[in-house]
Symmetry: C3
C-alpha cells in the first residue's frame, strides 16, 4: 500500500474541442472548432491547450495578449482586439458561469480507493462502514462509528466515541475531540479542530478553575469546515452547526453556539459562546459576535463588524458597534463631513456661551 | 496496545437520584425523589434520564415542553407551567452554578493509562518522569525533559531540549518548537504551536533577511493554550506567559511578549511583539495590541478593540483606536446623534461664512 | 535513526570575549576584556556568562540590577548607574543592531543531517533531490518533486504532484494540498495549510454547491509562511505569493489572490478572494481586505484596517472603512472633539428650527 493522500485533488481527465465546448454551454463558436483543450487557466497564464474566459472589459489587455487555445467571451466584448488570438472563441452570456459548469467536464476528483492504510491505528470497538478509506498514520479512537465511503486523510485523529455519517471527508491532520457527531457528507479541512474544550472558568481560591465540558459538538449533514478552524463542544448544552452551513478557514465557534442551516461564515469570523444564529445567515470575514446574542434568519453581517446586540431577521448590519448598514454608512459619511466643519462648529458653540 | 486518545474526554460515571441532587446543592425537592439521572443536557435536548436547568424566564417555553427527568429551577420560576413536566424539580438560588458543581458528580475524565505507545518515537537523552503517557505517532525530540504524569496525545511533536513540568497535558497534534519551557499543569490544545520563530526581518540587499530567534518561549504553571493558537519564542528576550493565564483558540502572541499572571485572552486576540501585559488582564475576542505597548494590571479591553497606546492599570478600554470605554461610548453615541443634524450644521456654518 | 526534529533550532556554539565583541561591532570596551559570554539574554534574565544590551533610558532600572557578563550600551547612557555592574561594557551607537549582528557569531542553527526517517512514507514516482531530510511520520504524495537539501519535519503531509524547489523547509505538521508549487528557500511553519479548497459555492436547488478548484497555489522563491496560516489554491486562476514575501502566523489568503514581491503580511491578516496586492506592500496585524480589490505597490495598511476599496500605490491607509491615514486620524480626532459640543450643537439646531 502506498501513502494515502488527502482526498479532493482534481485532475484533468478529458480533452474537449472548441465545438464540444460551444455545444455544452449553448454558445456561438467562431474559429477552429477542432481546437483541443485539456485544462483551464486564467487569461494571462493559459497556454494553447487550455480554455480561459474573459469576464469584463477590465481584463481587455490580458485578452489581447493571451496564449489560450479557446476563450469564452460575452457578446459585448466579441470585437475586442487580440493578436494572434485564440484558435477559437465561444461567445456566451455569462462566461464565468459557463466555465464553472465546464469544469466537471474537464476535471475529475482523484479517484477514491477504499482501504485502511497499514499504519492507521483503529481503536477497540470501532465500527467501520463499507468502502471506507483511512490514510497513513491516522488514529481512530475506541468505539468510534464511521459511515460508508468515509475518506479519512493522513495524520487525522478521530476521538473516542465519535459518530460519523456516510460520505464524510476528513482532510489531512484534522482532529475530532471525543464524542464529535458528524452528519453525512460533512467535510473537515486540514488542521480544523472539532469539539475542543470551551473557554470556561470560574475564579475561585485565586485561580481560574476549568469547567467541565460535557456537551457535544454536532455538525449536521453537508456542513463544511475550513482549514485550521476551531469549534468548541458544549459545556452543558451542545454546540450545533446546522445542515448545509459552510465555514471558511480560521473561524472560531464558541461553546453552546447553535448555528442554523445554510449559513455562510467567512474566514476569521469569531462567534462567542451561547450565540444563536438563524438559518441562511451570512457572517462576512473577521466578523465578531459577542456571547449570548441572537442573529435572526437571513441576516447579513458585513466584514469586520462587531455585533454586540441582537440582529433582527433579514437585516444587514455593519461597523462597530454593529448597526443597520444604512445607519452605519450615514454615520461614517457624517463623520467625514464633520472633519471639514468641526473648527467652525467649535467657534459657533464658543460664541454662544 | 490500542491507539491512545487525546486526553480529556468526560464520560458519565455515576447515577444520581433527585433526592441526592437536592441534598448536594442544598435545594428544595418537589416530585419523585427516586427519579434517576445519568447525564446532563440542555432543556430542549434532555431526555427522562437527564438533569437540566432553567436559568431565566427567557427559556420558559423550553421548560414547558422539556422531557428532562430532573430540572434545577430558581425560586422565582417555580410556578412556571410545564406539561407533563419533569419527574422532579429542585429549587435552588443559582441553578447554573449548582449544575456546574454537580458535573463532577456525574462525569469523570477518561481515566489516564500511563504508557508509551509502541509507535511513539523518543529521542536520545530524553528524561521521562513517572506515569507518563505518550500517544500514537508522537515524536519527542532529543534531550527533552518530561515531568511526572504528563499526558501527550497522538501526533504531538515536542521539540529538542524542551522542558515540561508535572501533570502537563498536550492534546493531539500540537507542536512545541525546540527548547520550549512549560511549567506544571500546563494544557496545550490540539494544533497549538508553541515557540515559533518570531516575525522579524531586516531589509538588506533588496531582501527581507530573517533574524535569528534565540530567546525562549516560557509558559509558567497552570497556563492553558487553546486550539490552533500560536506563541512565538523570543528573539533575544524570552516570551513569557504568566502562571494561571488562560488563552483561548486562534490567539497569536508575538516574540518577546510578557504576559502576567491570571490573565484571560479570548479567541482570536493578537498581541504584537515586545508588549508587556500585567496581571489579571482581560483581552476580549479579536482584540489587537500594537507592538511595544504596556497594559497595566487588571485592565480590561473590550472585544475587537485596537490598542495603539499604553493602557493604565484597572481601566476598561474599547474601540479603535482604543480609548477609555466611557469615552468610546460617548463618541459612538455622539456620532449617531450627529447623523440627524449634520445637514443643519453644514447650513449653519455656511451662513456664518 | 533517531526521531528527526523540526528544523531551525538555534544552539549556542561559540564563546566570545568582551574584547572580541568590541572588535566585531567596532565599539569601545571598558572593564574586563577577557570576560567570556556563551549566550545572549535580556537584561533582567541574563547571567554572568551572557551578553545583553541596553537600548534606551526606559530600561535603566533593569541595567542597574543586571547580572549580565557583558552589556552593549549607547554612548548617551554610558554613565548610568549599575551595581555591581557587568564585568565589561561595550559602547556602540546602536546596541540592538549590534546585537543582531553578533547573534550568528554566538549561535548556529542545529546542523542539518540528510536522511529519510524510517517511518516516512514516500509515494510512487516521487523525485527526491540531493541531501534531503524527511522526518518521522512524514507523508509524501505520489509524483511529488522535492528539491535539493529540503528539510521536511515530522508529521508533514506533502500532497500528490507538489513541486518544491531547493532548500525548502517544512516545519512539523504542515500540509501541502495536492499540486502546490513552492520555489527555492521557501519556509512553511508548523500547521500552515497551503493550497486549501477556496470558499466558493453556488446556491442551487436549495443548497450551497461546492465549486471545483482547479487552480494552483504558487509560492515563489524566498516566501515564508507563519504557523497555522492558510492559503487557498485558485479556482480557475492560480493563487500566487510573490518572491521574498513574508507571511506571519494565522494569516488567511483566499483563492485567486495574487500578492507581489517583498510584501510583509502581519499576523491574523485576511485577504479575500481575487485581490491583487502589489510589490513591497505592508499589511499590519488583523487587516482585512475585501474581495476583488487592488492594493498598489508600496502601500501600507495600518493594523485592524478594513479595506473596502482600491488603495493607490505608496499610500498609507487605516480605519474602517479604510481611508488615507491622515483623513482617518482627522475624523477620529473630530469625533472626540464632537463629544464635548454635541449637546450645544443640538440646541443650536433646535433654536434655528
Amino acid at each position: 500500500v502506498t501513502p494515502s493522500q488527502s482526498p479532493g485533488a482534481e485532475t484533468p481527465v478529458k480533452r474537449l474541442t472548441a465545438r464540444e465546448i460551444a455545444e455544452f454551454v449553448a454558445g456561438e463558436l467562431s474559429g477552429d472548432g477542432d481546437a483541443v483543450v485539456h485544462g483551464v487557466a486564467a487569461l494571462d497564464r493559459a497556454g494553447p491547450g487550455e480554455l480561459s474566459f474573459l469576464a469584463n472589459r477590465h481584463y481587455a489587455a490580458l485578452y489581447r495578449d493571451t496564449r489560450a487555445g479557446v476563450v469564452l467571451i460575452p457578446p459585448a466584448l466579441r470585437e475586442l482586439p487580440t493578436d494572434p488570438g485564440p484558435a477559437a472563441v465561444v461567445v456566451v452570456d455569462d462566461p464565468h458561469a459557463a466555465l464553472l459548469r465546464l469544469l466537471p467536464q474537464v476535471y475529475r476528483e482523484a479517484p477514491h480507493a477504499a482501504g485502511i492504510h497499514e499504519t492507521a491505528r483503529i481503536g477497540r470497538g470501532v465500527r467501520l462502514g463499507e468502502q471506507v478509506s483511512i490514510g497513513a498514520y491516522a488514529v481512530i479512537g475506541d468505539n468510534a462509528v464511521i459511515g460508508d465511503r468515509a475518506r479519512i486523510g493522513d495524520h487525522v485523529s478521530v476521538g473516542a466515541e465519535s459518530v460519523l455519517g456516510n460520505d464524510v471527508i476528513l482532510h489531512s491532520g484534522c482532529t475530532l475531540y471525543a464524542r464529535a457527531q458528524l452528519g453525512s457528507r460533512v467535510i473537515i479541512h486540514s488542521g480544523a479542530r472539532i469539539g475542543c474544550d470551551g473557554f470556561g472558568y470560574v475564579f475561585e481560591d485565586g485561580q481560574h478553575r476549568k469547567l467541565m465540558h460535557v456537551g457535544r459538538c454536532v455538525l449536521e449533514d453537508d456542513v463544511e469546515v475550513g482549514a485550521n478552524s476551531t469549534i468548541d463542544r458544549g459545556s452543558v448544552d451542545d454546540t450545533v452547526i446546522g445542515a448545509g452551513t459552510k465555514i471558511d478557514n480560521l473561524v472560531q465557534i464558541g461553546h453552546n453556539v447553535r448555528i442554523g442551516k445554510l449559513c455562510l461564515l467567512m474566514s476569521q469570523v469569531g462567534v462567542a459562546g451561547s450565540v444563536r444564529v438563524g438559518d441562511g445567515v451570512i457572517l462576512a470575514g473577521q466578523v465578531g459576535v459577542a456571547g449570548h446574542l441572537t442573529i435572526g434568519d437571513g441576516a447579513r453581517i458585513a466584514a469586520q463588524a462587531g455585533v454586540v446586540g441582537d440582529v433582527p431577521a433579514g437585516e444587514t448590519w455593519s461597523g462597530y458597534p454593529a448597526r443597520p448598514h444604512r445607519e452605519a454608512l450615514r454615520a461614517s459619511a457624517a463623520t467625514f463631513r464633520l472633519v471639514e466643519i468641526i473648527r467652525s462648529l467649535e467657534r459657533l458653540v464658543a460664541e454662544k456661551k
